[in-house]
């Protein structure tokens, strides 16, 4: 089973800003379409290891980026992934 965490944004603009900010750091992350199991809308989300989530969130907020929600997704093979919305 693999799990990873996701941050969603109110508009694509903030997602693109987040990408360019985080590129300057050594943090591991990836920009992906919002996973289908999280939402039916077609925005862009930031995927990162869950242990880095707090650090990334702090960094983005420090730079006054608007963030929407935080999720943990646990996937196992082709079974339906388990989604947990995180309160941070």
């Amino acid at each position: 089973m693999s799990s990873s965490c996701y941050i969603t944004f109110p508009t694509t603009f903030f997602a693109i800003r987040a990408e360019s900010l985080l590129k300057k750091t050594g943090l591991t992350f990836k920009m992906v379409p919002v996973p289908r199991s999280i939402s039916s809308s077609c925005g862009t989300a930031l995927q990162c290891p869950c242990e880095d989530l707090a650090e990334i969130k702090a960094l983005l907020e420090e730079n006054s980026l608007e963030l929407e929600s935080f999720y943990r997704l646990e996937e196992e093979g082709i079974k339906k992934p388990l989604v947990t919305e995180l309160e941070l």
Partner: protein
């Protein structure tokens, strides 16, 4: 993994159904064409008078209802709207203008490619170029703004209209137009076309299949998730066409197509750019309108207005090519899209401010 499997499967089903619909009577390489079908519906309602393209296409009705029922069932139906409706209406018009220059929406572009129509091969880089331009606007802060929750009545508008169209199609009153010749007179049996639309509506709602997102995400984030669906449509339709003798490679004599390469290329550039700014290709707009998004429905209305405009003034392309007035429309559309794009970079100042803070 599961998501990827599912979107490839959805694309494959769309490709397969497209081949079947053509075998059962739809115009060649037009198993599905959202722009053409919305144009046909516009004509069926008498809003344009091009006698060869008038038919209340059941596929469109099915797509909207399929997405609506699915969204209700999985509790994703949400009545929203209010994100730059006027601009979305114009974007819909321009998207349709570009599609009717090329003679097909991006979905039909893929199906034309799969049928061996090399004019679509010329149009594809044009589409990618339009999307690339669009991503430049996105990177600089283009946004149409957030949508807000609307009253439930607003959200039910699209499925309501779909049902009205279905009743008109079945009852066929005298004021509804049905083409007696040309592409508008060709169609698969109603039940099959409606069923195919429903199935694709369900799959597209579940997977967010989008022919613009496929290429946008590749350019913006090197993400190939949506592209898998796009590619699957092509591969399955290609195999299906080859197996049923519908693969006829070449430029000349292709069904519902013309050989004006410049206009095929630029027409799809218009569609690509308009689709990025509007946040979805014509098919995706239909699906979102079924999910209750008023912003998407406005875009569809814009597409209908665009279709009426293009045909009433004889601006649309035809197998004979693109008229001089139609060629002007291409440049006017591109200019308007650049104005809309540049005019909506509202957060530019904020971006600069953020940069300063970061450094």
């Amino acid at each position: 993994m599961r998501d990827r499997l599912f979107i490839a499967l959805a694309g494959a089903v769309v490709g397969l159904l497209a081949v079947i619909l053509v075998l059962q009577g739809n115009p060649a390489n037009m198993g599905f064409c959202i722009a053409c079908f919305i144009r046909d519906i516009t004509g069926g309602l008498g809003l344009h008078r091009a006698a060869v393209v008038q038919y209340l296409r059941p596929e469109i009705i099915g797509l909207v209802l399929g997405a609506f029922i699915t969204a209700l069932y999985v509790k994703e139906f949400r009545s929203t709207g209010g994100s730059s409706p006027v601009l979305r209406f114009f974007l819909g018009m321009l998207m349709m203008a570009g599609a009717l220059i090329f003679l097909g929406c991006p979905l039909r572009l893929v199906l034309r490619l799969a049928g061996g129509d090399w004019n679509a091969l010329v149009a594809l880089p044009g589409y990618v170029l339009g999307i690339w331009f669009g991503t430049l606007f996105l990177r600089r802060g283009f946004t149409l703004g957030r949508s807000q929750d609307q009253s439930a009545v607003s959200g039910y508008s699209a499925p309501f209209l779909a049902i009205v169209l279905l009743i008109l199609l079945i009852a066929a009153p005298a004021f509804i137009f049905f083409s007696e010749e040309g592409p508008g007179s060709m169609g698969a049996p109603l039940a099959l076309a409606l069923g195919a639309g429903l199935l694709v509506g369900i799959l597209a709602q579940r997977t967010r299949l989008c022919t613009m997102g496929a290429i946008r995400d590749l350019i913006l984030f090197r993400d190939y998730h949506l592209f898998l669906g796009f590619a699957a449509i092509f591969v399955v339709a290609l195999i299906g066409n080859m197996a049923t003798g519908q693969f006829n490679p070449g430029f000349i004599g292709q069904p519902v197509a013309h050989v004006g390469s410049i206009w095929n290329f630029l027409g799809m550039t218009v569609v690509g750019l308009a689709a990025v700014l509007a946040g979805g290709c014509p098919m995706r707009q239909l699906i979102l309108s079924g999910e209750g998004q008023g912003d998407a429905l406005i875009t569809v209305f814009g597409m209908m207005a665009g279709a009426a405009f293009m045909h009433n003034f004889s601006l649309a392309g035809s197998p004979a090519g693109v008229s001089p007035a139609g060629q002007w429309i291409v440049f006017i559309s591109l200019a308007l899209l650049f104005i809309i794009g540049a005019g909506n970079i509202v957060v530019q100042a904020k971006a600069k401010q953020l940069d300063k803070k970061a450094s």
